[in-house]
């Protein structure tokens, strides 16, 4: 009797152990992603809504079973804009079996690019710095680079300037590679035939009053100021231009200066900082904005509502950026599974490289189709010009491709 009980116990334990170990297979596979970004510290005004976008889209993918039984686990860690912390997060994620990395800052991506290449992991950064595409073949920019956006506003000026002669422009840039690299591409576009007269390059500091700068630019006949920096210095510049009566409220208004800028100079944060002084500011990005009616706005706001985000986050283009980064990763996994392949870093990399032609990916959040290949690491290559009108950004014309920059 005792022997029978023991045998029975062994059978029960074996079955239980078998069930326990087979449980993950029943629940479906879990794909490990990772994201490191500045939720606090410098640039967290962009990083915070970006992280919420990633979090919400991953939850959405899991909730709506985009991958069927499979799930995505994407831990999001704050790196406070410090490269050393990003590296530590990245290595921790690798230890957890990460197959796709969502990264953030230009500097951290440049520093980690050799690591990305070494471990052969696909990466979507929040930075749209064009140098990243050269730094590692595993970095895929979601939209047009800062350079493309900056040259985009410049091309718009060259094409639409109504005054006599060549338009006179000044560059107002961040005193770092983030500001300087697009300016170098601007000069390359000039050399390639873009007709603009670059009168002065201003690398800004922390100025409380830009009267001297603005009056100097006006005395040199500058008609357009093209900004490549973050919102805060642009807001101060716009406030001073409004005070001095120099800010154009319509494009190319005679006797005034039209202020324009690329990606991180604009968005609702600029309006929040500059208030009415932001009226007439022109801005390029490849994202849709929620101040324009369309299915993208409905979808973005519905997502924000579903995951209980506040209005500011819901209408932030950085929230859209985060969602689109996660969308690309999820889509790559979905397509890899659909092709019947095992989802690994290598197969995801191949899937991304095949995202072109009739396999191009279309997201509601961007103004064009997203294409990648072995030689194309920039997803959406079109840019859209927006202008602040009655306190919100409105589209100006249709999205366009650049003539002087490939």
């Amino acid at each position: 009797m005792k022997r029978n009980s023991f045998g029975y116990l062994v059978v029960v334990m074996t079955v239980a152990a078998g069930l326990a170990f087979s449980a993950p297979a029943v629940a479906g596979e879990t794909y490990q992603l990772g994201m490191s970004l500045a939720i606090t510290g410098p640039t967290s005004d962009a990083g915070n809504p970006y992280s919420k976008g990633v979090e919400d889209y991953i939850n959405f993918a899991n909730d709506t079973r985009i991958l069927g039984d499979a799930k995505i686990d994407c831990p999001i860690r704050d790196d406070m804009y410090e490269t050393a912390v990003t590296k530590r997060n990245f290595e921790d994620f690798l230890d957890q079996g990460m197959i796709f990395f969502l990264s953030y800052a230009t500097g951290a991506n440049q520093a980690l690019a050799p690591d990305f290449t070494e471990v052969q992991i696909p990466v979507i950064p929040a930075s749209m710095d064009s140098s990243l595409m050269k730094a590692s073949p595993y970095i895929f920019l979601p939209i047009a680079s800062y350079s493309h956006q900056y040259v985009g506003v410049a091309e718009y000026v060259a094409t639409h300037h109504k005054g006599q002669g060549t338009a006179k422009v000044a560059a107002f840039i961040h005193p770092s590679a983030f500001g300087r690299a697009p300016l170098a591409d601007f000069k390359a576009a000039q050399a390639a035939g873009m007709k603009l007269d670059l009168v002065e390059v201003v690398e800004h500091g922390t100025d409380l009053d830009n009267s001297a700068l603005l009056q100097r630019l006006a005395s040199k006949g500058v008609q357009y100021v093209l900004c490549q920096t973050v919102q805060s210095p642009v807001a101060t510049l716009l406030n001073d231009a409004q005070r001095l009566g120099m800010a154009a409220k319509t494009f190319g208004e005679p006797g005034k200066i039209t202020f324009m800028g690329a990606h991180y100079t604009g968005g609702n944060d600029l309006i929040a900082l500059a208030g009415t002084a932001a009226e007439g500011f022109h801005w390029t990005t490849s994202y849709r904005v929620t101040s324009e009616e369309g299915p993208w706005t409905d979808w973005q706001l519905a997502m924000a509502k579903k995951y209980a985000r506040d209005d500011k986050t819901a209408n932030s283009h950085n929230y859209a950026c985060g969602m689109m980064a996660a969308q690309i990763a999820v889509e790559a996994i979905r397509r890899t599974r659909e092709a019947g392949k095992e989802v690994t870093r290598a197969t995801l990399y191949d899937t991304l490289n095949q995202m072109n032609g009739d396999k191009a990916f279309e997201s509601l959040l961007a103004v064009g189709r997203m294409t990648y290949s072995a030689t194309d690491r920039m997803g959406v290559d079109r840019v859209q010009l927006y202008v602040v009108k009655d306190g919100v950004f409105r589209a100006v014309g249709e999205p366009f491709r650049l003539k002087y920059m490939k």
Partner: protein, 297 residues
């Protein structure tokens, strides 16, 4: 000539705001010989309190402004009571290290609120049309900044020169043990110095926030931006903060107006104040108005 006068006006405006921001450093150093590294965070905190009271609670902005100064007055006093009171008599470097820790704590607290990573601007409450005279213009925000700075600096100067508590604070600054021997409560003086620094920081934060918009990184960085002003004026001199602030403001505006963009120069407005600071310190190591202490060995 209009251009020149515009630069002078802009320089005075910027200098006044620098002076007000620097005042918090001076007030604490004057009484306790401590440099408060967390001053930028208190400036930012003051600005956010004004916004929260105005937008979230719906108070008129003028009342929010005064209320913010009162709140930071007590907050700064509490900070001194909780974190720094125990360090009286300890080496100054220990106290400065605590203020570095305090900076991290305040950063963390602010990041827990929406202000840590969101941008805001105050509701418009002043006319947007600037005041112009002979082609020289100044915005109402800037004018208000200059007026508030003048009032606060005048009030603090009077306080330190004429009031009993102010004189007690100067006595503590000169010699803590001697001050205690004549019945002055050193802990009370330290608490009051921190409280007044908090009050001035809130005023500075509200004014800067009205010019730049409310961005934590920008506002918090002001603690460091005004550091050359504090050093140039002399760490323990209120009038020094004013003079140095205006000097720095004028240098920046003239550099931006006459040097930048010419002869291949750029960014001189950011560098020149530091060069001049170094030159002046070569001849006046305690700053323009700082106390020259003679140590007898």
């Amino acid at each position: 000539m209009t251009y020149f006068f515009q630069l002078v006006v802009s320089g005075i405006v910027v200098g006044s705001i620098y002076a007000l921001s620097a005042l918090g450093f001076v007030l604490i150093y004057k009484s306790s010989r401590v440099l408060n590294i967390a001053h930028g965070q208190i400036i930012a905190g003051g600005a956010f309190i004004v916004y929260a009271l105005t937008v979230f609670l719906g108070l008129p902005i003028y009342i929010s402004f005064v209320a913010s100064m009162v709140i930071t007055f007590f907050l700064a006093m509490s900070v001194e009571r909780i974190f720094l009171r125990r360090l009286i008599g300890e080496p100054i470097i220990s106290v400065i290290m605590v203020t570095i820790g305090l900076m991290s704590i305040l950063n963390g607290v602010i990041y827990l609120t929406p202000f840590g990573s969101m941008n805001y601007s105050f509701p418009e409450f002043l006319p947007t049309t600037p005041i112009s005279l002979g082609g020289v213009s100044i915005s109402w925000t800037q004018l208000m900044g200059v007026v508030i700075t003048a009032i606060l600096i005048g009030a603090f100067s009077w306080f330190f020169k004429r009031s009993t508590i102010g004189i007690s604070m100067r006595a503590v600054s000169d010699d803590q043990f001697a001050a205690m021997s004549v019945g002055i409560s050193v802990p009370r003086v330290f608490g009051l110095a921190w409280a007044m620094a908090g009050l001035s920081a809130a005023a500075a934060g509200a004014i800067i926030g009205n010019i730049t918009g409310l961005n934590f990184e920008t506002l918090g960085a002001f603690g460091i931006t005004v550091f050359p002003v504090v050093i140039l004026g002399g760490l323990d001199s209120i009038i020094g903060a004013v003079v140095a602030g205006v000097i720095m403001g004028l240098i920046q505006q003239f550099a931006a107006g006459y040097l930048d963009g010419n002869w291949g120069l750029n960014g001189t407005a950011d560098v020149l104040p530091y060069i001049i600071l170094l030159v002046i310190l070569l001849f006046k190591p305690h700053g323009l108005f700082g106390t020259h202490e003679i140590e007898r060995v």
